[in-house]
């Protein structure tokens, strides 16, 4: 086969898989969100279209497709229409570096880890453009919030990815999965996994970090002016596509990727992705939303120092014990996770309660007189 033909076949295969993953997640995850959050909040959720309402996202998709594509009069038409496409680059490209099974990666790059992080900048860009081009203040505020948040939380994200890269000794995702033959990294670095989950929620703009589209404050944030399939693009393909990319990354980094009992296969990967997606949905249904400054404080004052300490200690242990560094790293990580779980609540509560001005000037109105 000539070089050109193989390139084109490669490209088409990459595009099909790259488009299929966000598309599938846009169909499956919204359904899961509705039914699961329905279950959590003691109601049914959509259950009419198809078995258990499974075809509801398809019906929604058709509806969005048939809707009129409206752009505000004063919007910057070009950028307004371009923004969803720009944001969509991320999930499509990021899929290409994920190993789906042994020997099956679309682009087996030796720096796949860095690429996943690098591609996420297109989502930031798309959201920023959407927020600005809509010519709406809610959109602008949402876009700016979103960018500030995603840029901030990218730092702990990268730091934790570096920790895994150090444990593996390679930036290739294939090597990451290969190194988890005996033990998954969630058991070695639970601290990194914890930070990864929290930072991931922020990267995905999900509750409790869903400030960019906080519906009770900013109507829908950067999505406010979008309708029809452009909204579908953002809400379905980009957001849930990114959610599955995040889940895929998490599964690859911490849960052993496609590895599993009996035989390693993409099926295991899908199960792990669904498990991580369940975490997203669970958070979504349970938590209230943080406030902007609390969000930033949390990133810069808690997550980043934590990740830095973790990074330093892990690196030190790897240098000191180059042959057998996994047990001490795991010991350190577990110890700190347990310490955090034990200390987090009381410390945070004390810090929060200190904010209260302890005035006890209850005006006396004796109840007997009433």
């Amino acid at each position: 086969m000539s070089w050109g033909a193989s390139f084109i076949i490669h490209l088409i295969a990459a595009l099909v898989i790259g488009l299929a993953v966000p598309a599938l997640s846009a169909l499956v995850l919204p359904f899961a969100v509705r039914r699961l959050s329905g279950f959590i909040s003691d109601r049914l959720g959509p259950n009419r279209v198809g078995p258990q309402g499974f075809f509801q996202p398809i019906a929604d998709f058709l509806k969005l497709l048939l809707k009129e594509d409206v752009a505000p009069l004063k919007a910057d038409r070009l950028l307004f229409r371009l923004a969803p496409a720009v944001a969509f680059i991320t999930p499509v490209l990021a899929v290409t570096v994920i190993p789906f099974s042994k020997g099956f990666t679309i682009a087996n790059l030796n720096v796949g880890l860095v690429f996943i992080v690098a591609f996420s900048s297109f989502t930031v860009l798309g959201i920023l453009l959407a927020g600005w081009a809509s010519h709406n203040k809610y959109s602008l505020l949402g876009g700016l919030r979103s960018v500030a948040q995603m840029v901030s939380y990218e730092v702990p994200m990268i730091l934790n990815i570096i920790i895994i890269a150090m444990l593996v000794g390679s930036l290739s995702l294939n090597d990451v999965v290969g190194a988890q033959g005996k033990i998954w990294y969630i058991a070695v670095q639970p601290l990194a996994f914890l930070v990864f989950i929290i930072a991931g929620m922020a990267e995905l703009n999900r509750t409790p970090f869903d400030l960019p589209e906080a519906e009770s404050e900013l109507v829908a944030g950067y999505l406010t002016e979008y309708s029809g399939m452009r909204f579908g693009f953002f809400y379905g393909l980009v957001e849930w596509g990114n959610a599955s990319i995040w889940s895929l990354t998490g599964a690859t980094l911490f849960l052993g990727g496609w590895r599993g009992p009996f035989a390693g296969s993409p099926g295991w990967l899908i199960l792990k992705v669904l498990a991580l997606a369940f975490v997203v949905i669970w958070f979504l249904a349970t938590f209230p939303r943080l406030q902007v400054d609390q969000l930033m404080n949390f990133a810069w004052k808690v997550l980043i120092p934590l990740s830095l300490v973790n990074l330093g200690v892990t690196g030190l242990l790897i240098i000191l014990l180059p042959d057998n560094f996994l047990p001490p790293v795991a010991a350190f990580s577990w110890a700190s996770v347990i310490a955090i779980i034990l200390l987090f609540r009381p410390v945070l509560r004390r810090a929060l309660l200190r904010k209260r001005v302890g005035r006890k000037t209850t005006l006396a109105l004796s109840q007997a007189e009433g």
Partner: protein, 175 residues
Amino acid sequence: MGEAEAAELAQHLLGGLATDVYLEADRIVIALEPGKLHEAALKLRDHKQLSFRYLSFAGGIDYKDRMDAVYILRSVNHPVVAEMRAQLDREQPVAPTVSDVWSTAGWHERETYDLLGIEFEGHPDLRRILTTSADGVYPLRKDARPHRQQRREWQFEGIAAPRRLPGEGDRGERS
């Protein structure tokens, strides 16, 4: 402390300020000159025993021949309700503001101004609040004619006014 006792106390406190202090339907009514409202309000609020620190509302009543400003106060120490009222001029109703005595009066006075046209002197922000587009019309005045006003606007904008239903008068005045 019951109402009667409180009324006596208020009478004693206000002295010559109040024109009349009497009990009506389980509340103390303190009739005042409009000019004395502010002073009396301060005294009633700051009195240790009466302690009318809570203003329920400030409003007004249009009696066709006069306009009354009405303030309902509650004592925080005793289950006593007091009412300050002042007679104002019907055509040019002006009362001093008590929004510096109780901040809550700020919006109540705006509302009263909006609905009855009572002007509160010294109010920091006396704008219409509920019916912002009804220029020059004070809907709760007994002679307010919203229908007529509306018709005039329609006429002005070249919109056909809706036909009057049989039996629907113009509330008092032929147009």
